[in-house]
């Protein structure tokens, strides 16, 4: 085997040497191809594994941590939630509609492969500035693709987040999260158990599409990426819907010994991972794989990433029953091989053995790297930026309206009105709130979800930024009254072999790990997406956190909008935020700099606990966390959602700039509404927590009025005017 071949497949010389050592001979082309996809970053996590090990993964609520297709969390009453997030960045950069659509398809399969009924989708998106036609094309295509796939399979897309920044111009991020519910006692496994059992492939036919998709995901984007044709595929959500129903039926009837979706690295990944996890092996007959095109080679069949396929391991006595289910759903079904006990993958084609290697070689024995890291030079420089250089706006009202009109703050309705967030009639809070809230039929419980990440913060300080991603996600579900239970994540970074990128990665994960420990929200799984670069320019380091929260009693859910005129408005947490890394600083002054204060993790945990208790005892009427845009933005958002104005009077602490007071950002800050009847109970409760709080004013009228103590108002605007600045920003950018 020539050296050029392994290099062309993305394997290094050392990796090739390791392969020779493991195999004890030269691999043939098929075997080498299998190594190349399984040892790609996307499948092997070779560059991230060491670092990820520091994330906490255990807790009483965790039924299954990382390692399978999705993690599983106990929610009581015999029920559990499977959830996971995944990226589809590179395909979406090239074919936004199909790239995003197949991203949804992939994450949904990860959930139902666990035996869970998918109940919710979320998405986290990053694009360049919207005034570029190419960005508009990507943005519109991605949103339409997520809508097209999710709506068709009937899973509501209930939330997400969207950011625009030049850092993502050439390399947009498309992260999708799915959650499903299953009986805690009936977790399906991606394991090839029971030698002699039959291996069944079901769903779409295998085509030549998507060859080496994982390798594509493990490189940077450049001008030639457009030519990476086969790496982009067309999704078939109709097929997925049939697969979903049929697989869940087979799992419910306990006819399935093991099941796994075919994603990146296709059959190679599914056969080797299922075998490796169970310590078994497989004999596979490629002639029995239904193909879309004739004359497909063993290499193509084993590496194809055609969508909408599932691999099942079934005991022989159950085959007929499984076949009946698939036939009823109109799905093609083929027994392609057998489970063995020898740990080997043996691949046959036209009666000949065309490949043989231990499943562990591809999985367990994949190399793991500890890469060098180095603090980037920008880090200290931006940290020590002198905020005094930033002029204070003359007209705070104008500044406020301008901030609301920043696409990062503005309403995201243009996006989510394209998503069916109501299907399945369980959506108690759809997009537009802090967290999405869903009921669980047959119980009093509710689930809350949020996806959050702020690449700008992480760029300025990966450690604090990593923490903040977790804190914000947890705060969002806590604001809805839910207890944060666990997270999934998607870690989007540049090329990890560059020490400065690896440094960002390491520190971000460290921050996330500490926050997860402090909040008691372990990591159940996730996804790492490296090589998010265009022509050598990396994106902001962007870890995105997907949080799961539990409401024991759905009727105690809290929403962000003011409920009633005369309700009191309280702020929990610090009065003033910081300008460091704030949207205000960037959108109005074009500055990205500063040193964010180190978040107080203990305080965050208290705050979330307080919010849960306040919701359960109904002493608050609304809650909305402060995030991008700071205090004034949060006040406005609560007003838009509730349809009431507010009148606020703020103290002016010394050494705090007015813009810092109004627009500064910080952690563990929440606005709550309190009815006059419950004010005493609220005060009793909040006093029992070690949290700063203060009364800001009351819900009133149809204006947003903010003054410093008794002075003339700084802000005195009709709600209508404020809302107009915020509402149609995204549609206007696209016209």
């Amino acid at each position: 085997m020539s050296e050029q071949l392994h290099q062309k497949m993305g394997l290094s010389d050392q990796e090739y040497a390791l392969i020779l050592h493991l195999m004890g001979r030269e691999p043939n082309e098929l075997e080498l191809g299998m190594f190349s996809v399984m040892w790609s970053e996307h499948c092997s996590y070779k560059c991230s594994k060491k670092v990820l090990q520091s994330l906490p993964t255990e807790g009483d609520q965790i039924l299954l941590g990382p390692g399978e297709n999705a993690g599983i969390v106990d929610i009581g009453e015999g029920l559990a939630v499977a959830f996971k997030m995944e990226s589809h960045n590179h395909p979406s950069a090239i074919e936004p509609y199909q790239g995003a659509a197949t991203g949804v398809g992939g994450i949904v399969r990860d959930i139902f492969t666990m035996g869970a009924r998918p109940i919710a989708l979320l998405n986290s998106l990053r694009f360049g500035p919207l005034h570029y036609p190419r960005v508009q094309y990507l943005f519109e295509g991605v949103v339409a693709g997520i809508a097209g796939y999710g709506n068709c399979i009937g899973i509501p897309t209930v939330g997400g987040e969207t950011w625009f920044d030049p850092a993502y111009q050439g390399n947009p991020l498309v992260n999708v999260m799915c959650a499903g519910v299953l009986p805690a006692s009936r977790i399906a496994r991606g394991q090839a158990r029971g030698p002699g059992n039959t291996v069944i492939l079901v769903g779409a036919r295998t085509g030549r599409d998507g060859l080496h998709g994982v390798t594509f995901a493990s490189e940077g984007l450049d001008e030639t990426s457009e030519a990476q044709r086969p790496a982009v595929q067309v999704g078939d959500p109709f097929m997925e819907k049939l697969l979903l129903e049929a697989c869940l039926e087979a799992i419910e009837k306990e006819l399935v010994a093991g099941i796994q979706d075919l994603g990146g690295a296709g059959l190679t990944c599914a056969t080797s991972e299922m075998s490796s996890r169970a310590g078994s092996g497989m004999i596979i007959h490629l002639d029995r794989v239904p193909c879309r095109e004739e004359d497909m080679s063993p290499y193509e069949i084993m590496l194809s990433e055609s969508q909408e396929r599932m691999l099942l391991v079934v005991e022989n006595e159950n085959i007929k029953a499984v076949q009946d289910i698939f036939t009823r759903w109109g799905l093609e079904f083929s027994a392609i091989g057998q489970v063995t006990g020898d740990g080997l993958l043996q691949i046959y084609h036209r009666g000949e053995k065309v490949g043989e290697l231990a499943a562990d070689f591809l999985c367990e024995n994949a190399p793991v790297y500890d890469l060098p890291d180095q603090e980037p030079p920008y880090y200290q420089k931006l940290k020590s930026y002198d905020m005094q250089a930033v002029p204070q706006p003359d007209d705070l009202e104008e500044a406020f309206l301008e901030l609301l009109a920043s696409p990062n703050i503005a309403s995201k309705q243009w996006i989510y009105r394209q998503y069916d967030y109501m299907v399945r009639t369980c959506t108690a809070q759809g997009p537009g709130g802090d967290a999405a809230v869903l009921r669980i039929r047959g119980t009093a419980k509710g689930l809350a979800f949020s996806a959050d990440g702020n690449g700008r913060y992480v760029y300025l300080d990966p450690y604090k930024g990593g923490m903040i991603a977790v804190l914000e996600a947890a705060r969002n579900v806590a604001a809805a009254g839910a207890k944060p239970l666990a997270i999934t994540n998607c870690l989007n970074f540049g090329n990890p072999t560059r020490p400065q990128i690896y440094w960002q990665f390491k520190h971000a994960v460290k921050g996330m790990a500490e926050a997860c420990r402090a909040l008691g929200t372990p990591v159940t799984g996730g996804n790492v997406s490296f090589y998010n670069e265009t022509s050598g320019e990396a994106i902001f380091p962007t870890p995105v956190v997907g949080m799961l929260g539990l409401l024991e009693n759905l009727s105690c859910q809290v929403q962000k909008g003011w409920r009633r005129a005369s309700d009191r408005v309280y702020l929990l947490g610090d009065l003033a935020g910081s300008l460091a890394g704030s949207e205000y600083l960037y959108a109005l002054h074009g500055v990205l700099a500063g040193d964010m204060p180190l978040p107080d993790l203990e305080r965050a945990a208290f705050l979330h606990q307080f919010l849960g208790e306040a919701a359960a005892s109904k002493v608050i009427t609304s809650a909305h966390d402060l995030s991008d845009g700071g205090l004034l933005t949060a006040l406005a958002e609560a007003s838009f959602a509730g349809g009431f104005g507010v009148e606020i009077s703020l103290p002016h602490p010394e050494n705090v700039r007015l813009d810092e007071l109004l627009f500064g950002e910080g952690q563990s800050r929440v606005l709550v509404g309190v009815s006059l009847e419950k004010e005493r109970d609220f005060l009793t409760l909040i006093r029992s927590y070690q949290l700063p709080w203060q009364l800001l004013g009351e819900v009133k009228g149809e204006k947003l009025t903010v003054r410093i103590q008794e002075e003339e108002p700084l802000i005195d605007l009709s709600l209508e005017r404020v809302k107009a600045a915020w509402e149609e920003v995204i549609s206007c950018c696209l016209d």
Partner: protein, 232 residues
């Protein structure tokens, strides 16, 4: 009275219609598989929303040839109550049970939103017990809800009172901004001449509980029950 909810490949609001009847109305309901030849004694059959056959070719086109549609045709001809919601409406149009066609929303986007409906014909089994003048708050979620028919058909629809719902403002006024898809004359739902087959784009089964944001969808289901001489 018993309801039947047809399950076509790709239906995805079958469950919502099912639970509307079972949990909200507390009435018997069962799923009917698209291959079946009878409606199993259903007194009202619902063609639910979703993406039958992925909306491939045209929404509702392929499903309209399902074996069960023969039974639906016969049932409708006998005066049986047929309610097509969203994709179910599209199936009814494609199968010729209702006139006209639904095509791409004028703005080319899928639209999930709350809409308000005026009741244009309050004399149907589906509408007779909606309080007079009530504007219904019911959501839509579709990409192809733009109703079209030729001028003669429109005349006939008007003459026979076949336009059942129109998109209006919350106050009940016609306004192009209240029309979520560009539908001809803001048409949101129509019925056949006899008044026993109703197709509508908005989802009454998604508006059955205050938890979901509205209970106005109940008016339609209550009308059906009362027409049948039942109370809930």
């Amino acid at each position: 009275m018993k309801f039947g909810v047809i399950v076509f490949p790709g239906s995805n609001c079958d469950l919502d219609a099912f639970y509307m009847v079972k949990d909200v109305l507390n009435k018997p309901v069962e799923y009917l598989w698209h291959h079946e030849k009878t409606l199993r004694g259903s007194d009202c059959v619902i063609l639910p929303g979703g993406f039958t056959y992925g909306d491939y070719l045209r929404p509702g086109a392929i499903a309209s040839f399902s074996p069960i549609m023969t039974a639906v045709h016969a049932f409708a001809a006998r005066g049986g109550l047929v309610l097509g919601i969203c994709n179910g409406f599209q199936v009814l149009l494609e199968s010729g049970l209702l006139p006209g066609a639904l095509y791409r929303n004028i703005h080319l986007q899928f639209r999930c939103a709350w809409t308000h409906l005026s009741v244009e014909n309050p004399h149907l089994p589906f509408t007779a017990h909606i309080p007079s003048g009530q504007v219904l708050k019911i959501p839509v979620a579709h990409g192809d809800g733009n109703y079209f028919c030729d001028p003669e058909t429109l005349e006939t629809l008007k003459k026979n009172n076949q336009i059942v719902f129109r998109y209006v403002t919350p106050e009940g006024n016609l306004d192009s901004r209240a029309n979520p898809n560009g539908s001809l004359e803001a048409i949101a739902g129509i019925c056949n001449a006899r008044g026993n087959v109703l197709g509508m784009m908005p989802h009454p089964e998604r508006a059955g509980e205050s938890l979901l944001g509205s209970r106005d969808g109940q008016f339609i289901f209550q009308s059906i029950l009362k027409h049948w001489g039942e109370s809930s």
